[in-house]
Every structure is written in structure tokens, then in C-alpha cells.
């Protein structure tokens, strides 16, 4: 397969305007500006490009939802890549920042948007510096600013650095954060396309989605749609990590078997061990097992298999791993990152973490697993955003798929605790004040 986003991405100096232009950079922008807006939008719709951030909503349709007319509209690029296991945007922004900048400008043109922002997570300092330099170069060359390339279209682009909060990757939390507030999610609807940043219509897209836009314009929407499957078009960057021989980012054509990614590209677990479970789309996706390795890697097949493609981050755990350890890590993460606005998420993540920690101390009973499963059910769909769901779905799937193992863990820990002094919390340093098991009466 021909690489699209990762085409010669290791070329030295690709982050500079000079090399990017030499390779045909910003030609798509010239082409787009020479087309009527409607045609650019039609190309995006034809391409069938689905959002690469997690939800997989069609990008062209998002643009078409923006109200017409002369008003202040905004484009926000979500570069707050914080989903555990995901690191594709990092490599893309670091090595080819101009691709993203060009995509932002074209998308803004399609939606007749005059102000654009890139919200990058605060921890990505190197990438932010590189992007900032790229934006400055692009502005100097006349790709950003007033009357771009002599057309009627003007746009500004500002890089905004976050300050460390997972929830700001959620689109409405991100908008609040960009407005200079605490990053609390908002009630939807109204969706950002109608009322987003500064209460204006706002187009929010992931880095990878926007970086694909120049290629769609170059190839034509219909041509792009020929790659991949019918409903999951194009290529996808997959971040694969955990127990594999060659972790990293790979560009794949959507619809190839998952086994080909995990074993073919990443080499499978080291020392020939078996896969025990894997997250197909970041830590928020329900886990799959080795029986699901032949599921095609695309949006619909993953949904049919009971999980989701999410951000395209595969985390593999081999047969030597305990499900409990990963579940506890997960729950601890989401309990820490919950913004606290909605009760089911704030309490649900916290209680799930405590119940899992309790297994280590030998205080849990197999009945806890039922309670845990019911807690997950009560979180899903009951909050403003999906952070709670993002914990409930994987934990729920772990309890369902590895119940026997978890029950054995509970029994073993109870036996251990029965003889010994059980005041000590064993395991992963969970004996902090947030993790202390508390009596349930």
C-alpha cells in the first residue's frame, strides 16, 4: 500500500516550509482556493473521511452542519492527544507540521471560517515549538493571514497550549479550556457546529483528520474513497504499544485484519507468547481477546465485534499479564481525570477504583464483580461527556470476559489475607489516600 500521511515522513527537514513545498506542499491549498467552496466541501463529503479522534463522525458532514451566512465561525484542531496508548498525532505534528497547517486552512475555507485554533496538550513542548515555527513560516509565506494567495479568503491561526488535563481532549471541555475556563464539558445539544467556541458555530477535528484534508483535495474525494472499505474509507495511523516487538505508528489501509497489524507489522508479543487481551482503540475501548484477532480493522467491524476503533491505538497484553493490574491502572486513571461535574462519572470511577484495589487486600468477594458490572452500566450514557463511559466500557468488558480469572484473584487474595495481617495493601502502590478501601456500611 502507498503511504499517504506517512509518505517519506522521515525525510530530513520535512518540518520546514522549504522541504515541504519542494515535495508539493501547499499545492492542495492553491487548488482548493481555486475551487468554489461548495466543490471543496463536496470533495470532503465524497471522500467519506471519518473523524480520527475517536467518535468516527464523518468530517464532511460536520462541515456541512455549520450554518451558512456571515458570522464569526471558528475552527479548532484538537491536538490534545491524551488517550492512553495514542501517540500518532505526536509523530505527525513533529515530523510534518505543515501538513496539518495546510489541512486547517483548507478546512477553514470549506466552512468559510476566519479564525482557527490548534489546541495542543501542554506536555507536547517539542511538538508545540515545531508547530509554532511552522505556523510562523506559513504566515510569512502568505498562506495564513489576509487574502491568502490573492484570494478573497482570510484566516488567522493561533496555537494554544493546554496545561495538563485529559478531559480537555473532549470537544466541549476543550472549548471551555480554550475560552480560558476550567475544562468542564458542556451539555449537548447544542453541538459545537451550532454553538461552540465563544458561542459561535465551531468545527472541531482531530489532527489526523485535518492532516488528511490536503491529500483528499489532491487526489479528489472519490479517488480517496476507493481506499479502505465502503464505510471506513482511507488510511489510518495506528499506534501500537504494549507487549509487541516493534511498537510504533503504522499507516494502514482500513479494513485489513487486526492480526496483520499486531503480528505482521508490530511482530506480535515477544518470545512467541500468545496475546491475552488487547485494546483496539485506546484505553477507552472495550477489550478484545485473541479470538478476535481476525476482525477487520475498520470502524464498523470493530463496532460489530463489541468494541470500537476509537483513536486507533492498539495496546496488547500477552498471556503473562494479569487483567486485574490493567483494570486497576485504568480505573485509577479515569478517577483522577474525571472533572467531577457529573455524579455517575465522579463517583463511579472512584468506586470502581476502590473496589478493584480491595481485591488486592483480600477484602473483595465475588459478589463485588456483580456490583462493579452494575456500576459500569449506570455510568454509561448518564453523563455530559463520555469520560465515564470510557472507563465503564473497558472495565465492563474485562469483568465480562475474564470473570473466572478475577474470581480466582479474589479467592487467592482472600486466602492470603486470611492468615496474614491484612492492613497492608499489596500491589501497585495503591496504598494512597484515594485508594484506601473503605467499609461499605
Amino acid at each position: 500500500m502507498k503511504q499517504i500521511l506517512f509518505d517519506r515522513i522521515d525525510e530530513p527537514g520535512l518540518n520546514t516550509l522549504e522541504v515541504y513545498e519542494r515535495r508539493g506542499g501547499y499545492q492542495s491549498l492553491r487548488k482548493a482556493l481555486g475551487m468554489p467552496r461548495e466543490d471543496v466541501l463536496a470533495s470532503l463529503l465524497d471522500s467519506g473521511l471519518r473523524g480520527r479522534g475517536g467518535a468516527g463522525f464523518q468530517m464532511g458532514r460536520k462541515v456541512s452542519f455549520l450554518p451558512q451566512g456571515d458570522m464569526e465561525k471558528y475552527l479548532v484542531c484538537n491536538a490534545d492527544e491524551s488517550e492512553p496508548g495514542t501517540f500518532k498525532d505526536r509523530e505527525l505534528m513533529q515530523k510534518s507540521p505543515h501538513m496539518l497547517v495546510e489541512g486547517v486552512i483548507i478546512a477553514a475555507y470549506a466552512g468559510s471560517i476566519r479564525r482557527s485554533f490548534i489546541y495542543i496538550r501542554g506536555e507536547y513542548q517539542l511538538q508545540a515549538d515545531i508547530l509554532e515555527a511552522a505556523i510562523a513560516e506559513a504566515a510569512e509565506a502568505g498562506y495564513i493571514g489576509e487574502r491568502i494567495l490573492g484570494s478573497e479568503f482570510s484566516m488567522s491561526l493561533v496555537l494554544h497550549r493546554g496545561a495538563g488535563a485529559y478531559i480537555c481532549g473532549e470537544e466541549t471541555g476543550l472549548l471551555d479550556s480554550l475560552e480560558g475556563k476550567r475544562g468542564n464539558p458542556r451539555l449537548k445539544p447544542p453541538f459545537p457546529a451550532i454553538e461552540g467556541l465563544y458561542a459561535g458555530p465551531t468545527l472541531i477535528n482531530n489532527v489526523e483528520t485535518l492532516a488528511t484534508v490536503p491529500h483528499i483535495i489532491r487526489m479528489g474525494g472519490a479517488e480517496y474513497a476507493k481506499i479502505g472499505t465502503e464505510t471506513s474509507t482511507g488510511t489510518k495511523l495506528v499506534s501500537i504499544s504494549g507487549d509487541v516487538k516493534r511498537p510504533g505508528n503504522y499507516e494502514i489501509e482500513l479494513g485489513i485484519p487486526s492480526r496483520e497489524i499486531i503480528y505482521g507489522l508490530a511482530g506480535g508479543p515477544p518470545s512467541g507468547r500468545d496475546v491475552k487481551f488487547w485494546f483496539p482503540g485506546g484505553s477507552s475501548s472495550p477489550v478484545l481477546t485473541k479470538d478476535d484477532l481476525d476482525v477487520p480493522y475498520d470502524f464498523d467491524s470493530m463496532a460489530k465485534a463489541g468494541s470500537m476503533l476509537g483513536s486507533g491505538a492498539i495496546i496488547v497484553a500477552d498471556e503473562t499479564r494479569r487483567v486485574l493490574d490493567t483494570a486497576l491502572k485504568l480505573a485509577k486513571f479515569y478517577a483522577h481525570e474525571s472533572c467531577g461535574k457529573c455524579v455517575p462519572c465522579r463517583e463511579g470511577t472512584n468506586w470502581t477504583h476502590k473496589m478493584l484495589a480491595r481485591i488486592y487486600t483480600g477484602e473483595a468477594t465475588p459478589m463485588d464483580l456483580d456490583i462493579m458490572a452494575s456500576v459500569q452500566e449506570q455510568i454509561i450514557g448518564n453523563c455530559l461527556c463520555v469520560l465515564g463511559d470510557a472507563m465503564a466500557m473497558p472495565i465492563g468488558s474485562m469483568v465480562a470476559k475474564f470473570r473466572t480469572e478475577l474470581e480466582a484473584e479474589i479467592e487467592a487474595a482472600r486466602e492470603r489475607a486470611g492468615g496474614a495481617d491484612s492492613d497492608e495493601v499489596v500491589g501497585l502502590g495503591v496504598a494512597d489516600e484515594h485508594a484506601g478501601p473503605i467499609p461499605v456500611h
Binding site: 518540518n15 509523530e91 515555527a133 485529559y166 476550567r182 504494549g242 511498537p247 503504522y250 492492613d423
Partner: protein, 259 residues
């Protein structure tokens, strides 16, 4: 059933820190500081003002402004907050609410130090991040100029287990690396240059096939940091002034706290 572990409580008997801290009800809430009587370092003022100019609503500059103030004061001290409040014309309470939300903005006093964040999220912990964290803590024991903390996913699972040392991503780390990190920090040289993410080559075979050679990781040939000098790598610099012109009728509406 075994006896339950007691719930940790603070001195006042609650699990919530500071819930019963006395509030002086006779005192009015802090108002927006008067810019005329609040001294603000010129550099800081300029930085905050140019941040505000980038956005249609000046409040959007709260995070960049607090970052800048933190760089000057070491943390978001009451004085730092007051200075930002004076320039941005916001209440100190509003800025404190923002600062307390984000992990990278500090409200507690801290001496000048190096930050070592060890990622202990799923992928890294599968590959030994918890042990690495313990080793790092043990290595710096007693040295207050290095601050080690475990961190949520830093977005570099390809080099797991990894750490962010003063913002520089390094990995994959082994048992000897904590000591080396410490030595590099003390010597003031780049930390583990062979393991920095900026030099990591793509693993995608499609990329490798097209590009056999990869630039060697030496400082002169840093292709991906063109236009940046060594000194400003780790600092939060301001962007180029974006071409934004706000017509008078579109200027930000007055903040409710001002009226």
C-alpha cells in the same frame, strides 16, 4: 472478613482537605486589582498582553498568562495571580479556579527544580514503568533539586517505559537510566541524547522502504527543530502575533465581574 483499613483523614476529621478552613465573612471577595497600583514586571506584562491580543476574548489567555507568571514566580503564587489579574482585568478568584484545574499549573510553593515525569499508564506499566518509577525515586533520594512524579499517559507509548525530563521525552528506559538521567541533569547536558524522541525514526515499513537513510542524532543536524535555538526548547514561547483585527463593535463584551 478482615478488618477494614481506616480511611485517611485530615486533622480536622474530614476526608476533604481544608473544608473547615475559617472564612472571614466580614471581608469582601478580592476585587480586580488596580493596574495603576499593582507592580507587574514589564516582560510579564508584555507577554500577557500579546497573549490576550491573539484571542477574541481576553479570558482565553488565562492559561498562557498563568504559565508565563509561573515561569517568573516559580509557581502560581498569590502575587503571581494578582499580577495576572491586574493585567487581564479578571478577579483573582477566577484565575485561581483555572490554575487549580490544570496539572501543569502549581499552586503550592516549590523551590526551583528539575521535573522528571515517569509515565505509569497502561502501556508503560506493562513494560516495567512502576519499577522504573521506584528506581528513579530511589536514585534521587535526598536531592531536592529533582522532582520525580508519576504521570498519566504522556503520549509516547512507542518508547515505553518512558519519562519526560524537563519536557524532553526519553525512552525506552532500563534499570541503569535513572542514574544516567540524574548525572546528565547535574552536568547540565542533554539528557540521554540517544533515547530522545526527537531522533526516533518511524517504524512503519512503508516509510523505511522509501527512505533508507536517516539523519544521525547529532545536534547540528536536527532537522526537526529548524528555526529554534537550543535555549528556547523547554520554554513556553509566545507565538507570532496572529493577524487578528477586532473591529470596535466586536470587542469582547465586558466581563460581568467588572460591572
Amino acid at each position: 472478613m478482615s478488618p477494614a483499613i481506616p480511611v485517611p483523614r485530615f486533622a480536622h476529621g474530614s476526608r476533604v482537605p481544608g473544608w473547615d478552613d475559617a472564612v472571614d465573612l466580614t471581608k469582601d471577595p478580592a476585587v480586580i486589582p488596580d493596574p495603576a497600583t499593582t507592580p507587574v514586571p514589564d516582560d510579564l506584562r508584555r507577554e500577557i498582553e500579546s497573549s490576550m491580543a491573539k484571542y477574541p476574548d481576553r479570558r482565553s489567555a488565562a492559561i498562557p498568562a498563568l504559565h508565563a507568571a509561573q515561569a517568573v514566580h516559580g509557581y502560581c503564587s498569590p502575587e503571581a495571580i494578582t499580577q495576572v489579574a491586574a493585567v487581564m482585568q479578571l478577579t483573582p478568584a477566577y484565575l485561581t479556579s483555572v490554575a487549580s484545574f490544570y496539572d501543569m499549573l502549581e499552586l503550592q510553593p516549590r523551590p526551583k527544580h528539575d521535573d522528571v515525569y515517569i509515565c505509569t499508564n497502561i502501556s508503560c506499566s506493562l513494560l516495567g514503568a512502576d519499577e522504573l518509577f521506584d528506581a528513579m525515586v530511589a536514585a534521587v533520594a535526598g536531592d531536592e533539586t529533582v522532582h520525580v512524579s508519576s504521570f498519566e499517559c504522556l503520549g509516547a507509548c512507542d518508547i515505553a517505559p518512558m519519562a519526560s525530563v524537563n519536557g524532553e521525552y526519553v525512552g525506552p528506559l532500563n534499570a541503569d537510566d535513572p542514574q544516567q538521567i540524574l548525572e546528565d541533569l547535574r552536568a547540565g547536558r542533554p539528557v540521554l541524547p540517544n533515547k530522545q524522541i526527537r531522533y526516533r525514526r518511524s517504524v512503519d515499513p512503508g516509510v523505511r522502504a522509501e527512505h533508507d537513510q536517516f539523519f544521525a542524532p547529532d545536534h547540528s543536524g536536527r532537522a526537526d527543530t529548524a528555526g529554534l535555538s537550543d535555549t528556547d526548547q523547554a520554554t513556553d514561547r509566545l507565538g507570532p502575533p496572529a493577524p487578528i483585527e477586532i473591529p470596535p463593535q466586536e470587542s469582547p463584551p465586558p466581563h460581568p465581574e467588572q460591572t
